[in-house]
Amino acid sequence: MDKPLTQNIHPDHDFTSLADYQKTGGYRGMRKALTELQPHEVTQQIKDSGLRGRGGAGFSTGLKWSLVPKKTSDLPDFQQTRYFVANADEMEPGAFKDRLLLEQDPHQLIEGIIIGAYAIQANIAYIFMRGEYRLAAKRVTYALQEARAQGYLGEHILGSDFNLEIYLHTSAGRYICGEETALLNALEGKRSTPRARPPHAVASGLWGRPTVVNNVETLCNVGHIIHYGIDWYHSLGLGADHGTKLFGVSGRVKHPGLWELPMGTPIREIVEEYAGGMLDGYQLRGFLPGGASTDFLLPEHLDVRMDYDVVAEAGSRLGTGTLIILDDKTCPVKMVLNMEQFFAQESCGWCTPCRDGLPWTVTLLQDIIAGQGRMEDLDTLAGLTRMLGPGHTFCALAPGAMEPLQSALKFFREDFERYIVGNNDELEYA
């Protein structure tokens, strides 16, 4: 069992029914949790497993669950009800991992949600899904009906005292909805702007009640951890982090795709072996290791392992674990412009640095590319990477947007300068 997340996903069949899922051991983790373990024991096991959030931030999943106040009779009324939310709002440019899990093995997610909701004693859970994922919504809806018919949802699940309903919420879009607190506002039918923290969602989330929000891929790990145990989970990772992860590669490589590999797999192995290396006629110039809001790394970083802390030491972030390749025929300045246009458009406008700083960034980059830039513009851009950086905004959108820019200014400065001094005709970019 070295590929638990994708064991049921095969190219020749595209949907895992309840029966298929149970054939490979599905829902045994749920059974064990609900019939043999106390909620706090479930939380402790997930904490001890070392599972970290696969949505990009890498926060300890078990720790997050443990921060929800224990359900005791002396808790105030508003904290007696709590909610569990699966974040299926995948929209990070370059990320295409959660869609596969949602479309092809939705019961794996449902099992994770049931276990998570049991751990924090939530009786209602939501799957918050982006509106564009039409096929995923259809498959998840079908799987929820199967689970309900089987008695895995509803009252007294497996004869226990635990009741749970899971509702699918289909969103109408915006990248910001994937941000934890903006997602909660969206679920409440409000404009999806982030909330100031503290309080954190685990204390005061949906309608002011304790709420856990976990990424889809994160939750898909949960059933396996409870069923196979912590030692097994630890044995899967190659480095400090545990378990497996879906790693992807997109761009001009021979075989773009998605593979479940151990945490700690070297980037070189993912790019050269699994993705087959660069297309003929193209050289590797750099890459974003985990989506558009991560810093560029260079070919010299190919031996970096895909572990949270190792990628961070190299100067970037593991993020979503889906790499975007920059080849030598693509202009890095234009590539950064494309990403900044995305972030400027998707900014919710709630706080000033992001609302004003991102369009300013876009304008400067457009001017530079149009041959109207000045050298001082590079200093202004560098200044923006600080002003829009961590600590100045409500959420991580703007700091994320600055990561590819700040690293491009560092690694590809000559490309920016060539536009400014006016000999960009020499460039052979497409």
């Binding site: 995948e90 929209m91 990070e92 440019p93 370059g94 990320a95 295409f96 959660d98 869609r99 209602i124 939501y126 509106g131 564009e132 994922y133 039409r134 096929l135 509702y167 919420h169 289909t170 969103s171 109408a172 879009g173 915006r174 990248y175 969206a186 679920l187 409440e188 039918g189 409000k190 404009r191 999806s192 309608w207 992807g248 590669v249 997109s250 761009g251 001009r252 773009p256 795709g257 998605l258 558009a292 889906t322 975007i324 080849d327 693509t330 590539m335 494309n338 990403m339 995305f342 458009q345 998707e346 919710c348």
Partner: protein, 163 residues
């Protein structure tokens, strides 16, 4: 007077729309929370959300029109202007951009004689950009109606428009 004026511009939700909204309204603690899904439901039947439709939804949910408008104009997939039978959302995020989404956009616009945001003269297609569709390994991609289309090129676009 004001009340009459408002009434004359309001339209009612259909029985089916009301039934579909009522089926999910209890999933949430309050009526405001069902706003986005109610808009999705109504838009599915009417293709877009006119001012009078927006008012009908707000009235039905007993929430403020201004609040509903603030949500409707915020979200990418709520159309506040008429759209064609099929909306083609071409992805313009980074990997699709690298692998040809600008050519996809140009070809679509040229074939349909429109600019992004416009609807073809026969009312068949509306062309809109969209952010990353999560199909980067098969870029460029587009959402055509409810269907994800991948590995796009100009031939594939011609094939889609032929139907």
């Amino acid at each position: 007077m004001k009340q009459t004026a408002e009434k004359s511009t309001s339209e009612d939700l259909t029985a089916l729309e009301i039934q579909e909204i009522n089926a999910i309204i209890n999933h949430y603690e309050d009526h405001t929370s069902v706003a986005i899904e109610a808009l999705n439901i109504v838009q599915k039947h009417r293709r877009w959300i006119s001012d009078s439709t927006l008012k009908a939804v707000a009235d039905f949910l007993q929430i403020s029109l201004a609040h509903l408008e603030s949500v409707a104009t915020f979200d990418n997939l709520i159309y506040r202007q008429p759209v064609g039978n099929t909306v083609i959302h071409y992805c313009n995020s980074v990997t699709c951009w690298m692998l040809g989404s600008e050519q996809i956009r140009e070809h679509l616009c040229q074939r349909l004689h429109v600019e992004p945001g416009e609807t073809s003269a026969d009312g068949q297609y509306t062309i809109l950009p969209i952010v990353c569709l999560g199909a980067c390994d098969r870029a460029p991609a587009a959402l055509v109606g409810d269907e994800l289309k991948i590995d796009l090129n100009t031939d594939a676009i011609d094939e889609i428009l032929k139907r």
